[in-house]
């Protein structure tokens, strides 16, 4: 029997999260700026389509890394949707926020039960560090599904008709996480 893939759930989710987000950003480099920011009638995409949804995913990575650290929470990624970033620019921010999350992994492994306090709009919530970490690392994939749906609805030949599968199993085929 081959050696099982890593037994560290944080490593798996961390790597899958950045991979999936990057796969969508790669597709977005083939869109016009108008297509990239075209609105879709629900959620973060309502005011800015793929751009807004990706900004939401990547921004949440940075803000949750601050909450877990803990340190002062950085501002939302872009105060308004007037700030349109290219997919390439968002990829740079993705890498930076991913690095911030990855740097926290050792402390999460050591003490996943550490409690962190979070302020949401003046309300206080308490999470375990492990729960918060798993939350932010699956939050992106929840929105990946929505990005794929928006890409399909854009109806762009060669893109909307050839959308990628983004499961953990698809990520596994592109990486080597065996330990």
């Amino acid at each position: 029997m081959p050696t099982p893939i890593t037994s560290d759930p944080y490593d798996v989710l961390l790597a899958h999260n950045v991979w999936g987000t990057r796969e969508i950003l790669k597709l977005c480099t083939r869109l016009s700026p108008e297509q990239f920011s075209q609105s879709f009638p629900v959620g973060p995409a309502e005011k800015g389509g793929l751009h807004a949804t990706l900004k939401h995913i990547i921004g949440a990575m940075g803000r949750w890394s601050d909450r877990i650290a803990p340190r002062p929470v950085r501002p939302f990624l872009g105060p308004t949707d007037v700030v349109i970033r290219t997919p390439e620019k968002l990829d740079e921010i993705l890498q930076s926020h991913h690095n911030d999350l990855a740097a926290l992994a050792p402390s999460i492994r050591t003490d996943p039960a550490r409690l962190i306090n979070v302020d949401f709009g003046g309300k206080q919530f308490t999470f375990t560090a492990g729960a918060a970490y798993i939350h932010v690392l699956t939050h992106g994939h929840y929105h990946h599904a929505q990005c794929i749906n928006i890409l399909r609805h854009l109806g762009i030949p060669g893109i909307s008709t050839h959308l990628p599968e983004l499961d953990v199993t698809d990520w596994q085929t592109t990486s080597d996480m065996r330990d």
């Binding site: 798996v12 629900v42 996943p112 409690l115 308490t126 929840y142 990946h144």
Partner: protein, 183 residues
């Protein structure tokens, strides 16, 4: 008492996605649940059937039998053959009941145990990561489709994020019980 911090984190994340999906589903009519946004996408009913079937197959006797059960017919999960809403909810709930009861039996020491899915060895940790991600993805689809259908039919959408006065419930979903500390 065995440590369950990481398992508990997975439990709360699964629970969160179930609540999100069910919060969206309950706002739609039976007809809307079976409606696709376009010919290339599945209806919410079909996605629910797939998620229920996937979870039931993966987590029934997860540590002792392969995660792809002989009795699972994945292709039929994409066929809408429900007679009514109750039948759909039975399939959906059966998958969730299995994963929730299996998770309740695990401790963090189990994360390194090996199980198989389609004959491929997985650590329990990898299988959980794979399953919660798969569930998150389909929940994202369900919520998005539900919101579009609600918008089209003029339904006043009830937000699925933290509601006023629901802080304790939200804490619990995120793996914290104020009375007992982290679970």
């Amino acid at each position: 008492m065995p440590t369950r911090t990481t398992i508990s984190a997975f439990e709360s994340e699964f629970r969160r996605y179930r609540k999100l999906a069910e919060g969206a589903i309950e706002q739609l009519t039976w007809e809307q649940l079976r409606q696709s946004l376009d010919p290339e996408t599945n209806s919410i009913a079909v996605i629910m059937k797939h998620v229920g079937g996937n979870l039931r197959s993966r987590w029934t006797d997860a540590l002792t039998t392969d995660g792809e059960k002989a009795w699972r017919n994945r292709d039929t999960e994409f066929v809408d053959d429900f007679v009514d809403r109750a039948a759909l909810m039975t399939v959906w709930n059966s998958g969730w009941n299995v994963v929730e009861s299996q998770l309740a039996s695990f401790a963090d020491d189990d994360l390194v145990k090996t199980l198989s899915i389609r004959g491929e060895p997985h650590s329990l940790a990898l299988a959980l990561a794979r399953s919660v991600s798969h569930t998150a993805y389909h929940t994202g689809q369900i919520v998005q489709i539900a919101r579009v259908l609600a918008s089209r039919s003029g339904v006043d959408w009830k937000t699925l994020t933290v509601a006023r006065g629901a802080s304790n419930q939200f804490n619990s979903r995120m793996g914290f019980d104020a009375g007992k500390g982290p679970r």
